[in-house]
């Protein structure tokens, strides 16, 4: 027997045992045929997220436009929703007859175009930006607790804004915004450099560095707040809690530009972000340069967050929860999840702002308070529903 072995190559060895192997392998074979027959329903079910995304993107866009219009028509100066639409269209399209026939007053025009619309748009931009930044952070640090502020961005912005208020550098809200943006950039750069080792960024180290630096910055902010004049404290709290109430058209440019740039940049990396879902090594073997992707996405998310925080303060909750809601509904494929999260964040925050200034009118509920009060129950309901479905055998 043995001599036969030494001359028989391994490949024919495999064939020699073929009869036994085939016999053993019979069970899985009948499976293959029904698998093929079932293909169409399988694909449909597997792509259920794709269908949801195809419905949600236009639906959310319509919802966003509706909320913006409702916002423009709601407030102390009486303007009907139809008139609000006329005013907005009149400013966007030249030569509309109703703009010059005296049917709309200057007060109405100002209320809609100078105050309400910028405010609603800023809320939408902030919501969209924070949701996108949060989704990106969660993907690149492999952590579902990650949010836009994880790199200490908001704490850095807080120090910048509070310093500006306390020291009186830069007058007006745009000056505070500039200081906040500078603070956010400084914090991001510090965390990034601290988390970098041998040219690599380790997600865990990044989170820890962000938390530690955030605590340091918060301490500075608290100290500045407690030692400053009483009249400054209100401005400080206003910024720290987050608000879009002081919005003017001038506030919109920075977050809009940041959102557009970040959106385009990530659109070309959505597939690579998907690969990152299964781990760094696996992503690398799928052709993704993990280090470069992680660094560039972190910088993108941090700049976007900084741009939003600079004009609207530290609005919490949106960046953490909206990406999860999007994931629960359309799945974790970033090609579907990112557009839904961006639109969802915009609708959610614009709606919250509308509620914030109407529910307790003429008083205003702080936006950060409302986002949590509206968002948390909805998220918990969705979480429970999904959990129940999962335990009952998903699909």
């Amino acid at each position: 027997m043995t001599p036969t072995h030494d001359t028989t190559p391994a490949r024919s060895n495999g064939h020699a045992g073929g009869s036994t192997a085939t016999a053993t392998r019979t069970p899985p074979e009948p499976d293959a045929a029904p698998g093929r027959a079932r293909r169409t329903p399988t694909r449909r079910r597997g792509r259920r997220g794709a269908l949801a995304a195809r419905v949600l993107v236009p639906a959310l866009t319509a919802a966003l436009l509706t909320v913006l219009l409702l916002s423009a028509g709601t407030g102390t100066v009486a303007v009907s929703t139809a008139d609000a639409l006329k005013i907005v269209l009149g400013h966007l399209l030249p030569g509309m007859p109703w703009m010059s026939d005296g049917s709309l007053t200057t007060v109405q025009d100002n209320a809609v175009w100078q105050f309400r619309l910028p405010r609603a748009l800023l809320a939408a931009l902030a919501g969209a930006g924070l949701a996108l930044a949060g989704a990106l952070m969660q993907a690149v640090v492999h952590n579902s607790l990650a949010e836009p502020y994880i790199l200490g961005v908001s704490a850095g912005a807080g120090v910048g804004a509070v310093s500006s208020i306390v020291l009186g550098i830069g007058a007006g809200s745009l000056g505070i915004g500039a200081a906040a943006f500078a603070g956010a950039l400084a914090a991001t750069a510090a965390v990034y450099l601290l988390a970098r080792k041998n040219g690599r960024i380790a997600p865990q180290r990044l989170i820890l560095a962000g938390v530690a630096l955030g605590a340091l910055f918060s301490a500075v902010t608290s100290y500045l707040t407690i030692t400053t004049d009483a009249q400054n404290v209100f401005s400080i709290m206003f910024f720290l809690l987050g608000s879009v109430s002081a919005a003017t058209p001038g506030h919109l440019a920075l977050p809009a530009a940041a959102l557009l740039a970040a959106g385009i940049f990530t659109a070309f990396r959505a597939r690579a972000l998907n690969a990152l879902l299964v781990g760094d090594d696996a992503a690398a073997t799928l052709g993704v340069n993990v280090n470069r992707l992680r660094s560039s996405i972190l910088v993108t998310a941090a700049l976007l967050t900084g741009a939003v925080v600079a004009v609207s303060g530290g609005i919490g909750f949106v960046g953490l929860i909206i990406p999860h809601i999007a994931r629960i509904i359309v799945g974790s494929d970033h090609r579907r999840m990112l557009p839904v999260a961006v639109l969802g964040g915009a609708v959610f925050l614009a709606l919250c702002d509308l509620l914030a200034r109407t529910l307790a009118a003429p008083a205003e509920i702080p936006l950060g308070v409302l986002t949590a009060m509206v968002g948390a129950p909805f998220f918990l309901w969705l979480l429970r529903r999904d959990r129940a479905e999962g335990t009952g055998g998903r699909r």
Partner: protein, 282 residues
């Protein structure tokens, strides 16, 4: 495509885990890598896949040094099935398999019908077509292995790198998987723990011990009682299969020794074995 490994050294955590390994794998052949835990099999495969950077030596695929290839170019040549998965976010099986199309596609593009057809075909081939809509994290260990292999097939590369692909698989699926590897006709490098399985399916086997290549050649020339004793620390007896007459090894006992070897000698691949990083070779 042929794979040539020349004088490869790989360090991990400051330790030389692969030392001066040279192996040539001719096009379309299956190379089995054998060796106890911590012998450097996984690290060698990581270097071939481009995840671990060699500190000396080089890996060439069809004559091209892999160090000169971009990640994407390498991913079109080498598909990897390893013991990994992050479970932070849920992902449906079909989506996971479709990730194998990334090196062939664009950043934001939809999965084309061709991509989906390739992925579904790969799932069918590994007998996992019915799992397409399930969540990957809800699968059993054996089902996961098959799905990960389907992803490697979907990547459509001439070279396959498989790190203990038969882990967690029942006996039927073990045989099916190694048959599939053979049936693809691709060049494959496979780390295995089952010596008899390796002997039966590999064109050549390389035996690693302490990061060095002990021996390389056709399984029937390489595998023997002496080698198994010195590398794995296990006494074995060769027996002939009553039907085919092929040689099998029956494992008798651990070789008595003053310095106990921490490595698990078992050919038992159903058992989760500690990964190489966890154990240091004395």
């Amino acid at each position: 495509m042929r794979v040539d490994i020349d004088g490869l050294d790989v360090h991990r955590g400051g330790r030389r885990v692969v030392a001066d390994v040279s192996i040539a794998v001719p096009s379309g052949t299956v190379l089995g890598l054998l060796g106890p835990n911590g012998s450097g099999k996984s690290t060698l495969l990581r270097a071939v896949s481009g995840i671990a950077a060699p500190s000396a030596g080089r890996v060439r695929i069809d004559g091209t040094d892999t160090a000169s290839l971009s990640r994407r170019e390498l991913a079109r040549r080498v598909a990897v099935m390893a013991q990994e998965h992050s479970e932070e976010f849920e992902i449906p099986v079909l989506d996971l398999v479709l990730l194998g199309r990334i090196p062939h596609g664009k950043g934001f593009g939809r999965d084309s019908d061709h991509d989906i057809a390739v992925a579904e075909d790969a799932l069918d081939r590994v007998g996992a077509g019915h799992l397409a809509a399930r969540s990957f994290s809800a699968l059993s260990g054996g089902e996961r292995q098959r799905v990960l292999f389907a992803r490697a097939l979907t990547q459509d590369t001439p070279v396959l790198v498989l790190d203990e692909p038969t882990n967690h698989l029942d006996i039927a699926h073990q045989l099916e998987l190694v048959d599939l590897v053979r049936g693809t006709g691709r060049t494959a490098m496979v780390a295995l723990h089952d010596l008899n399985l390796a002997a039966r399916y590999c064109d050549a086997v390389g035996v690693l011990d302490g990061g060095r290549l002990r021996t390389l050649g056709p399984p029937e020339d390489v595998l023997g009682t002496d080698l198994i004793r010195s590398v794995f620390g296990v006494e074995s007896t060769p027996v002939a299969h009553p039907g085919s007459g092929r040689r099998h090894f029956v494992f008798d006992a651990r070789t008595p020794s003053d310095t106990p070897d921490p490595s698990a000698p078992a050919p038992d691949t159903d058992h989760p074995v500690p990964t190489e990083e966890g154990i240091s070779t004395p």
